[in-house]
């Protein structure tokens, strides 16, 4: 861990850049879409600042432009973003006794991507809330600027140049690999992947991520408890 303000910022940006690349791609796509749906640059900027949640923003644009009411849009945003409860809960393990003001600022920037990156670093043990906050706010800044740029540039940017659409997928795949340590985590992630696809196809709405993760993690705890109590597991080498 570097010391000093400059070192902290350099280190956090070194961690945040894959998110920033991904957000440029998704943000421009969002801006283009919103501009085509008749949203002004101010409206795009305000939504990116106030909401800061990719998928919910896409859904809101399509709902609003097809004439949905305020309550319906807000309720949908709530359901789509409820998965952050799980992310915030698992980050809380590393933030015991942190100042409430800092936590409140940090909470604003918890997205799928910043969660994944910060959690890996917290797990390694060389991370703190200030560095995590810089990661969140860099991602936030890139998101706001890219969505507005997308609205401004319209269709000048060819969609999906340089494989940029794959930046976040590749990042998630890599962070998933970093999470795998032992049989239980492999089983949990395999189960979550299968559940998530199945729920995506079978259930209406956007509950597949949250349901799949809850179910898979619960299964994992059962397996772990069972395998620890099982007499056939005596001896060494059984690492979870």
């Amino acid at each position: 861990m570097r010391s000093g303000i400059r070192g902290t910022i350099v280190e956090s940006c070194g961690v945040a850049w894959p998110i920033c690349i991904g957000y440029v791609a998704v943000g421009i796509a969002f801006g283009v879409l919103a501009a085509q749906a008749g949203f002004s640059l101010i409206q795009i900027a305000l939504m990116s600042v106030i909401v800061f949640a990719g998928s919910a923003q896409f859904i809101a644009v399509s709902m609003i432009s097809s004439g949905a009411g305020i309550i319906a849009v807000i309720l949908t945003a709530f359901m789509v973003n409820l998965r952050h409860v799980l992310m915030s809960s698992s980050l809380s393990l590393f933030l015991k006794g942190t100042h409430r003001g800092l936590l409140s600022a940090f909470a604003y920037g918890i997205t799928d991507e910043t969660f994944a990156v910060n959690l890996i670093r917290f797990n390694r043990g060389d991370w703190d809330v200030r560095r995590a906050l810089i990661v969140n706010q860099s991602a936030n800044a890139f998101w706001i600027v890219s969505t507005v740029a997308g609205g401004y540039l319209g269709e000048l940017v060819p969609p999906g140049s340089f494989g940029i659409d794959y930046a976040l997928t590749a990042m998630f795949l890599c962070l998933l690999v970093f999470q795998l340590s032992g049989k239980i985590t492999v089983l949990v992630s395999a189960a979550a992947g299968i559940f998530s696809v199945a729920f995506f196809l079978l259930l209406p709405g956007n509950f597949h991520v949250i349901l799949a993760s809850i179910l898979a993690a619960t299964l994992g705890v059962f397996l772990k408890t069972f395998s620890e109590k099982s007499p056939s597991r005596e001896g060494t080498g059984h690492v979870v």
Binding site: Q43, S89, A167, L180, S213
Partner: protein
């Protein structure tokens, strides 16, 4: 939708998005939580990362239906291997983008 209604709408969206991000942090970071619950929480990341990314590999963006052997999945195989072998996020992201670009251009 008028500008006032729009403003109300995004403030509402912002509120219901912020609370799920904020409440667990504030509540859980002040408490000792049961061992079983913290073990569950430790398994959540492996679950959630997989639940987030796997549908994008196997579900077609265009149709919303199952598409088992699309580029997203094919490119994911070398990307996963690279992540596992190199343990480097930077290399994995850049190589993944490059491979996806090649796939889209030539396949």
């Amino acid at each position: 939708m008028s500008f006032e209604a729009y403003l109300l709408c995004i403030i509402g969206m912002g509120f219901v998005t912020y609370i799920p991000r904020w409440a667990p942090l504030i509540y859980l970071s002040r408490r000792t939580i049961p061992v079983l619950f913290s073990e569950w929480l430790r398994l959540i990341p492996a679950g959630i990362l997989s639940a987030l990314v796997v549908p994008s590999l196997f579900i077609s963006k265009e149709t919303g239906h199952l598409a088992l052997f699309q580029g997203e999945f094919i490119v994911a195989i070398p990307t996963l291997l690279l992540a596992w072998k190199t343990k480097s996020l930077a290399l994995t992201v850049i190589a993944g983008m490059l491979m996806y670009h090649l796939w889209q251009t030539y396949v």
